[in-house]
Amino acid sequence: MASITLANVGKVYKGGNRAVTDLNLDIADGEFMVFVGPSGCGKTTALRMVAGLEDISEGTISIGERVVNEIDPGKRDIAMVFQNYALYPHLSIFENIAFPLRARRVPRAEVREKVERTARLLGLSEFLPRKPRTLSGGQRQRVAMGRAIVREPQAFLMDEPLSNLDAKLRVQMRSEISRLQEELGITTIYVTHDQVEAMTMGSRIAVMRKGVLQQQGHPQEVYERPANMFVAAFIGSPGMNFFRARYACVDDGHVLQLPGQSVRVPEDVVRQRPGLAAYRDRDLAVGVRPEHLTLGSGGGPAISASVVRSEMLGAERLVHVELPASAVVTDEVVEAAADVDATAVTALEEESGQRHVTLILRADPAARVEGGERVEVGVVAPRLHFFDLETGAAIGA
């Protein structure tokens, strides 16, 4: 049971390749912290530095009150669950779980008792004499967790443990891992590239990109108040809608000017974002999540658009609408899109060529829309996000 502190941690490889820059994080005892970000963002490297599997180029990492930079992985009192489970193929499940205890010369009777208790906790009791290759992916995953748990370490480190499981299993294991962590109360750092996992499992999440921490905080906070466009685009599925507009001051208030229309920005929204004042008569990026757009204006600010497509998802309907506007295609947005899939990237690139933007909005499954139909898309104004086009930073308080 211990806190973990990363202070100014950096990692540079021979040849100058920089994987992590100036990472500062305080993880409290018992917390479930998720490092999330696209591939290559440095999250795994950071985890491995905490584990001791990578040398720390800059800064210090402390576990409990100890600075562990120079301490071997085996002596840091941490346990790790690997992406491919790293089970010892020639040992039985019992011996796999027992291995860390044997390495510490724990007496036989105690080993047996602890392994059996851990196996019971994870529902593995009947598999103890078997070998890893006879188990399914999910079962192997649990064995890997068992090996980590049996030592009652100060911290758990998990490196994308669910990425090799199929979707349904992943959902099931997610809650199991969360439940277990809560029960055992051990400080955990969990690495994933799946933002859904991050949002559902973490008590706090740290979003990373290209080795730099973008934002950290409670999932809801990161969701509602993203610090920049990357975080805004990365978190949430389907992702946030972006378009370019000019912020202007007119007689009776403030508007966002788009080709062919203006959208009112209510005064209370303006007041809550003093930073907007600096953007009078300037272009900025506007972000709004699909769940904060409605079919039909409902009396508030609205955008005129025409329906392109409608996807039925059972519990809800996703409506794609198109409007004349410029798309926001920056590195951050592209990278976040790339993390979804390749078609999202090509769609973005296509958009930047044309003068249309497609917005996605969540609607009631019963709503009926036709392709080509003109609609008024209502905007939940307090949920508008504004970003600087150059820096990507959020414009707000």
Binding site: Y13, K14, G42, T44, T45, R48, L53, E54, D55
Partner: protein, 284 residues
């Protein structure tokens, strides 16, 4: 960045000293080879003096003398002989061995398994056991004392090893590529040539090195089947060389260096492939 590197790249003093120690061991290990080179360059009167120093001036004439050879013929003919026999034998081993392995690996069943075991046994049977009847038999077929006979001999004798190495590897190959080729309408042979064989490169390297080395360096079989003829291979030539120049180590070693050179050159080229081939065979 594609993937984050996972190797612990700690290069401490400990690693450095380990490297130094191993380099030292390797140097001592290769000392005999160094001595080989040194002696090959020595004049006859200095054979046992100052063993570690390259003589000044180095007597390159030794190589010329060695090349000129002993009474029955120069090393030159022996080199050609060795090259012809080794290259053709290895080529045939690769062709027939890989084809056979392909069949054994892709047609599992009792017959295949039996044959595979037979091939394994083939590796174990010592050559000495077959040598006399082979001599008698091949002589009856007129295959003693010429290239053709020697090549046939080698291809047959080394085949078990080639098939063993190839089969393990082919068994591991996913069938996807072959199935795709089939769907494109390719026949078996075309599938093999265009799809499977290129994928076998690591094993082919291993087979080439192991069998090539063995055939190039062989003494016993070459002595029996080609001894005394114009087609003697290098080791046999060296043997008769030694017979004539008994304690003239410098000349003998010069001849040995000449015999070793082509092998080392080939080696450096094909080294990489061999490791991967072995690794594949081990897992298979």
């Amino acid at each position: 960045m594609a993937g984050e590197p996972t190797v612990r790249n700690r290069y401490t003093w400990r690693t450095f000293s380990r490297e130094l120690i191993v380099l030292l061991i390797a140097a001592v290990f290769c000392l005999p080879l160094y001595l080989l080179l040194v002696v090959a360059l020595k004049p006859s009167n200095q054979l046992f003096t100052q063993p570690l120093q390259i003589p000044v001036p180095p007597r390159f004439g030794n190589f010329a003398d060695a090349w000129a050879g002993s009474g029955d013929g120069s090393l030159g003919t022996a080199v050609i002989s060795s090259i012809v026999i080794t290259v053709i034998s290895v080529a045939l081993l690769i062709v027939f061995g890989s084809l056979c392995a392909y069949v054994l690996a892709r047609r599992p069943g009792r017959l295949s398994n039996t044959l595979y075991i037979l091939f394994l046994l083939g590796i174990i049977i010592p050559f000495q056991l077959s040598v006399i009847p082979l001599y008698v038999g091949l002589r009856a077929l007129g295959l003693v004392g010429n290239y053709a006979g020697m090549i046939v001999l080698w291809v047959g004798v080394m085949m078990p090893l080639a098939v063993f190495l190839y089969t393990g590897f082919v068994r591991q190959l996913p069938r996807d590529y072959e199935e795709a080729a089939r769907m494109d309408g390719a026949g078996t042979l075309r599938t093999f040539l265009r799809v499977v064989f290129p994928l076998l490169r690591p094993v082919t390297g291993t087979v080439a090195i192991l069998t090539g080395m063995f055939i190039w360096n062989d003494f016993f079989a070459s002595l029996i089947f080609l001894g005394g003829t114009d087609y003697e291979t290098l080791p046999v030539a060296i043997y008769s060389f030694v017979g004539e120049y008994v304690t003239q180590w410098n000349l003998v070693f010069a001849a040995v260096v000449i015999a070793l050179a082509p092998l080392v050159a080939f080696f450096i080229v094909a080294q990489r492939q061999m490791i991967r081939g072995f690794a594949g065979g081990i897992r298979g």
